[in-house]
């Protein structure tokens, strides 16, 4: 199970802005340890953000996304007190899901 995400969702004038910070090493598979051994690729491949049971953003990532991936976007709608849920899977099949409450 991955480490918890930090999520901030805030609604302003009918638009909800979502900021997500995932915790993941995002290994490219090209980095070497001090002794020269290659660190295997290990990175988030898919992210999905849901609001009221529908996807408001879906992403596919490659190795070029920075360690501890950050995402910001916005969608129409949302009210204070409602939830957004975010989930990711990585190339080793690990996953993580977290929820956040929209603030006004």
């Amino acid at each position: 199970m991955g480490k918890p995400m930090k999520i901030r969702a805030a609604v302003k004038e009918g638009v909800t802005e979502v900021k997500i910070l995932m915790q993941h090493d995002m290994e490219t598979g090209l980095r070497k340890e001090a002794d020269g051994t290659l660190v295997p690729a290990w990175f988030i491949t898919e992210v999905k953000v849901q609001y009221q049971g529908r996807a408001v953003l879906e992403a596919q990532f490659g190795q070029s996304i920075s360690k501890n991936p950050y995402l910001m976007f916005h969608f129409n709608g949302g009210s204070a007190g409602e939830k957004v849920s975010i989930s990711w899977v990585d190339n080793k099949g690990d996953s993580r899901s977290d929820e956040a409450t929209i603030t006004g």
Binding site: T45, I65, K67, F75, V89, K92, G93, S95
Partner: protein, 160 residues
């Protein structure tokens, strides 16, 4: 229930393991068949060259230097490991936004699907091995548009 678990299993096979967790994940209902994202585009994400990546995304000849895309990147990145990239578009009906780094070993960094009701704007952070062009590719009304900006990297982010 069984349908969701089956989906979890299928995903687990394509991503290579972690079946138990994914079955659980599917059970939670976050990845449902009805709105599941297309499978991770392995061909596109393992592309070593820009043309190859564009081809894999079905964007062989995008309209270049698009004024309809606002790509925000730093001119100089002191740390190539964390380069903020923001892409926005004024085009109507934006369906997809992709970010590429033309000199990275794997050029495609991310593909975002933008459903209706979601703003045509995403911000994230990418790794850059050296000075390169960051490319924003936007699909709107089935057509592709592209713009690029150079980012000078003083310390690479794909360390060895």
């Amino acid at each position: 229930m069984s349908k969701e678990i089956d989906l979890g299993r299928r995903r687990a096979i394509t991503t290579g393991g972690g079946m138990g967790l994914l079955a659980l994940f599917g059970g939670v209902g976050l990845f449902r068949p009805s709105d599941a994202l297309a499978e991770w585009n392995k061909t596109a994400f393992t592309s070593k060259a820009m043309d190859e990546a564009l081809g894999s995304l079905g964007a062989a000849s995008p309209e270049d230097n698009s004024v309809f895309i606002q790509l925000t990147v730093p001119e100089i990145a002191e740390n190539g490991a964390v380069v903020p990239v923001s892409v926005a578009s004024s085009l109507p009906n934006v369906e997809q936004i992709s970010i590429m780094v033309d000199k990275n070993p794997n050029v495609l960094a991310a593909v975002f699907s933008i459903p209706q009701g979601t703003g045509a704007m995403v911000t994230t952070r990418v790794k850059m091995g050296k000075t390169a062009n960051v490319v924003a590719l936007v699909k709107a009304d089935g057509k592709f548009y592209r713009t690029a900006k150079e980012v000078k990297v003083t310390a690479g982010g794909c360390g060895g």
